[in-house]
């Protein structure tokens, strides 16, 4: 006589230590195996796109910081690039180099957060998290020198960067570039060959490449499946066409590969920073100092490679000082649509780990 079993539905509530923000997952289990997943989000919706219609173009920059609050610089950069396409203002060279420096520093910081929390979800009792945050503190100190704030930066403006770096910034950057590869190696030694990490993440949460392309996923999630798609190479902006770096890909597209791609991207970002540090020219950093920008009627789409994927802003202007429509293409939301394929059939213990490996940020998802 077969045993009658029943699936059980559990609510991984909005307040939960492992959900990277306020996010609700209704999971249906058959024993330990996940049968169905229903995400419910929108708890962090603040109406950013509507608010952007009431603010001037410069004031919207302060809104864009708070979308992906872990990677503010690239959020600013995407918006500012879209505005520059609308208005036709070209930033000076030094401004572009400073933008790239800020964006790459932000990439290192965001990947450190992703790796730290990924390992925290695996259960390594906060130790790798503390190491990653210690390194991130150095980057946040650099940001404090650049623009006075640590997380919500508002550093970029239409036409370049806000203000030049102070004198103390360059020796501090040099010190950071000398020490960071050692710390990246230390993280590598701590984790990449650790049998427990490998046993928990290898082969779990596999997403095939064609599924990712069809779902328009971007970022390390896509690159971990072997597709070498990086906007810095395919559609270069700022000065990326003059810089040498590799696009990191991996082949198996499981949790371990997504973590490893991020670790290697930290190294590539350090390489870019070295080149910028060497090559940055003198000059002004800002093309226009006016705060009220009145672009002509039109529309533009500006995109950057943020640490989480392709971040794009679609701006429609009607000739006034506020945008008519500002639409954010957030990578976290698009990557989140793969949640069912990611989690089906795996076990409860893998749920949190897989969810952490795609590295979403609820500020971006909910806007």
């Amino acid at each position: 006589m077969p045993l009658r079993t029943e699936p059980i539905t559990i609510n991984l509530g909005p307040q939960h230590p492992s959900t990277h923000g306020v996010f609700r997952l209704r999971v249906t289990f058959d024993g330990e195996v996940i049968q169905d997943v229903e995400p419910v989000f929108g708890y962090l919706h603040r109406g950013s796109e509507k608010l952007a219609e009431e603010r001037t173009y410069t004031q919207v920059i302060t809104l864009t910081d708070r979308l992906d609050y872990v990677a503010s610089m690239t959020s600013n950069q995407a918006y500012v690039i879209a505005c520059e396409k609308l208005t036709g203002i070209h930033p000076p060279e030094r401004g572009l180099y400073l933008r790239v420096i800020a964006a790459e520093l932000q990439r290192v910081a965001s990947h450190l957060v992703a790796i730290g929390f990924f390992l925290q979800d695996l259960g390594a009792f906060a130790t790798p998290l503390m190491y990653c945050f210690r390194e991130r503190e150095r980057i946040l100190d650099l940001f404090e020198m650049l623009c006075g704030a640590r997380i919500t930066l508002s550093y970029m403006r239409i036409g370049g960067v806000f203000q030049d770096a102070p004198e103390e910034f360059w020796p501090a950057l040099r010190r950071f570039l000398d020490e960071m590869p050692g710390y990246a190696d230390e993280l590598d030694a701590l984790l990449s060959e650790n049998e427990v990490v490998v046993a928990r993440t290898r082969g779990i949460g596999v997403l095939p490449a064609d599924l990712l392309i069809n779902a328009s996923a971007t970022g390390p999630v896509l690159r971990a499946s072997g597709v070498a798609w990086d906007l810095r190479k395919k559609d270069p902006y700022d000065v990326y066409d003059r810089l040498e770096f590799d696009v990191v890909t991996a082949s198996r597209s499981d949790n371990y590969d997504r973590y490893y791609v991020r670790l290697q991207e930290i190294r590539q970002a350090l390489r870019i920073l070295e080149q910028c540090y060497r090559d940055i020219p003198e000059g002004p950093v800002r093309a226009t100092l006016s705060n009220l920008v009145r672009p002509p009627v039109g529309e533009a789409y500006g995109r950057v490679e943020s640490p989480k994927g392709e971040l794009g802003y679609y701006l429609v202007s009607d000739g006034s000082i506020s945008p008519y429509r500002c639409r954010v293409r957030s990578p976290s939301l698009i990557n989140l649509t793969l949640l069912r394929e990611l989690l089906m059939g795996w076990k409860l213990a893998d749920l949190v780990v897989s969810f952490g490996s795609i590295d979403i940020n609820m500020g971006e998802v909910d806007r």
Binding site: S18, G123, V196
Partner: protein, 394 residues
Amino acid sequence: MGELLAGNSIYRNVYIWVEGLLPTGWQWVAYFVAGFTIMFLLLNAFLVLTMVYTYMERRVLGRFQGRLGPNRVGPFGILQPVADAIKLLTKEDIVPAVADRWVFNLAPVVFFVPTVLVLGVVPFGQNSFLADLNVGILYVLALSSVSTLAVFMAGWASANRFALFGSMRAVATLISYELPVLLSMGGVLMLVGSMSLVRIVEGQRIPFLLLQPLAFLVFLAGISAELNRAPFDMVEAESELVSGFNTEYSGMKYGLFALAEFGNVLVAGAIMSVVFLKGWEGPVLPSHLWFLLKVFFFAFIFVWVRATLPRLRIDQMMGFAWKFLFPLSLVNLVVTGAEVAVWPEATTAQLWVMAVINWVVAIVGVVVFSRLVRQRPTQPEVRVFSSAAPSGAR
């Protein structure tokens, strides 16, 4: 005078002194007073050491992570465990309405008592032990199984579905890891010829850490799982959903669980230092100090491992026990048995030869069995969803 305890000098002195104060026929009073004195001393020493250990763990874990531990309560934070105890004592004691009251209240006690009882046979220093049972190791291992029962009682009595899941996992883990722990002691018993812990300490000419590396490895891994410590703490530190068998406990009942858990670490350290590191023997310092140093050395190793390794999943834990530790302990048993059969009364030189053979066997065994335990992740049963209809009842 009770014979079993007569070897203990404190007991003897107190007994004689109290007996001298009483008229004849009242020896049972002396018996009680002397017995109570040594129990009191032992229990308090154990509890104070547990408190010291919790403080040490928090500080050392903090230093591993690049931060200080708690240092606000008292100078250098040494009163932090006192503050924790006061907090637990003053919390409201909640018992769920549908819980099984008797079992619910008994479970922390059943969890805590075996920890203390084990200390009865451990030699703390030269000629300093409570009782020299001639089945010491058997007594220790039997008592550690009783705490499994307490975990089961706690999960069942909580009448909470998640606590039950957690405690079932805990019971499965604990039972699986009993066997490698038991068998790893087999080699030591064969070499010494007795189960008494005092004899084991005396019988180590070379520390058994060098002579039985495989037994040490298996015992270390097995006892980490029995203690529910990282990397095997899936049972209690579930960051996902449930919080294990002690979900419904609050106040001092939870305090008893926590106390027993940290105390178990010290007891495991005591057993390991007695069996593998020659107990209280050491050159210059007094023997009690050597014993404490060795116990805290093992406690430090537990903290170090906890700071470094992430958790294993529950099925990986089972695989580790049955496919890696259990065969290794059998291999150790066979090899040691063969060696003892060949050299029954071994001289020190022959012991060193045995040590070399054992190390070679250990390395070969670890390499061979680690290939066996490397599992492929199970292929998921994936259902392909079209974009339209959601499935399942909401």
